[in-house]
Symmetry: C2
Subunit: 246 residues, 2 copies
């Protein structure tokens, strides 16, 4: 077979595909960089031309996830039938739906970011994601200021607060994973469900809207995302044990 010269961008995407497939099958922590290189059928030298480390692979996969999510957002921004609040809620609904749908894959790839030793990587990936999403939020908030629906003097700051709301769930999730029991997970789910409702009302008020205007979650949303993590299908199907809290 003659040697085929591939476009570098294409080659990079293929390496990411192989890495993603391996991480999905074996989990990020269990798959080695050598496994990825073997599966991709490239030389080590060729691989390292694209990615300096296993961490760099995960970072690139996170960027790809963020890019795909952003692509879906464009039609919301372009929809002339949406007012700013409708646009914000459509953005939240799309993001929620995407999170539920990709949850099994996302956990397999990114669960490792909630381990204490990966905090720096989590922070870096999170910062990059915020940088991508903030401008979209700022654009919508500005539209709401222009038409008088929203009331704030600092659209960028409010966008940052929204991104912080997402980041703030880190400690709750990390604690549940560190604990490891069903009871730990149940406490985390209850805390997160409550937190989503608080963030909805907080954001309503920060933007000068009546309580109940903004919809970040929906009933069962947090549970759907969190329980998608269990890799044992039998366990996922079973009703979660009710945690005793005293």
């Amino acid at each position: 077979m003659p040697r085929i010269i591939k476009h570098p961008e294409l080659r990079r995407e293929e390496l990411l595909d192989h890495a993603q497939a391996l991480f999905l099958t074996h989990g990020y922590d269990r798959a080695s960089l050598n496994d990825v290189i073997a599966a991709a059928g490239v030389s080590k030298g060729a691989f390292y031309h694209y990615f300096a480390s296993k961490e760099a692979l995960l970072e690139a996969l996170a960027e790809r996830f963020a890019r795909q999510a952003l692509a879906g957002v464009q039609k919301i921004l372009d929809d002339p039938n949406l007012d700013p609040l409708g646009r914000l809620n459509a953005l939240m609904a799309t993001s929620r739906q995407a999170k539920i749908e990709t949850a099994p894959e996302a956990w397999a790839l990114f669960e490792t970011l909630f381990r204490p030793e990966n905090l720096v990587l989590f922070h870096r990936i999170n910062l990059a994601a915020s940088k991508s999403f903030s401008p979209v939020l700022v654009q919508i908030i500005r539209q709401g200021l222009d038409d008088g629906t929203f009331r704030t003097f600092d659209p960028e700051g409010v966008a940052d607060i929204v991104m912080q709301f997402g980041t703030a769930t880190y400690d709750i999730i990390a604690k549940a994973f560190a604990g490891g029991s069903d009871a730990d997970m149940e406490i985390a789910i209850e805390t997160l469900e409550k937190r989503v409702r608080l963030y909805e009302i907080a954001l309503d008020r920060i933007l000068g809207l009546p309580d109940g205007s903004i919809r970040i979650g929906e009933p069962g949303y947090v549970r759907a995302v969190m329980t998608a993590r269990r890799d044992n299908p039998a366990e996922t199907a079973a009703a979660p044990k009710r945690a005793g809290r005293d």
Copy 2:
């Protein structure tokens, strides 16, 4: 001189005093663990009985700072003449005043936490500080709910948001330090001044208060804290250069 057996708690405090003095003189990053051990005049074995690492020393110093700050807060909690909003504002004013007064020492000790390589330590120290301060906030918020001043269903969640507001400034400060120029610092100060005003109004609204009720900052507060960092007194005294932003 006969060997004096000291109480372990006292010995530990003395080691912290020596470490603090050295870190203040030379900066945390430049002082070595051996310097601390030499200054304290103890054996390595004795030292490691108390602290496993230089990081552990810094963590213990942060705990001591937090403990001292909390001690000053008790009289606000006990003051019968303060209503819940007055109590919250007194808490903010005390914390603001303490931050201005301790800023030169705090920077010398803790500036290192804003370096990327110390993110894990920052997160650990920050989590511990939040754990100490959150109950105080929750107590005051509950009082405001009881007397009908505040309006929220989740006092613990609101306390967490307040602590997040503090943490959220991390990236702004880390970026200014990484940049290193006067212009970077000036951008950070302006961003933080604006952010303080946003957090005030955000917290007003989250608690169902009229805009302008809660006072987190005061004019010049951020600048006072940030410029206290410069270790060259001549430079501190000079008027900060106005940054050009284009």
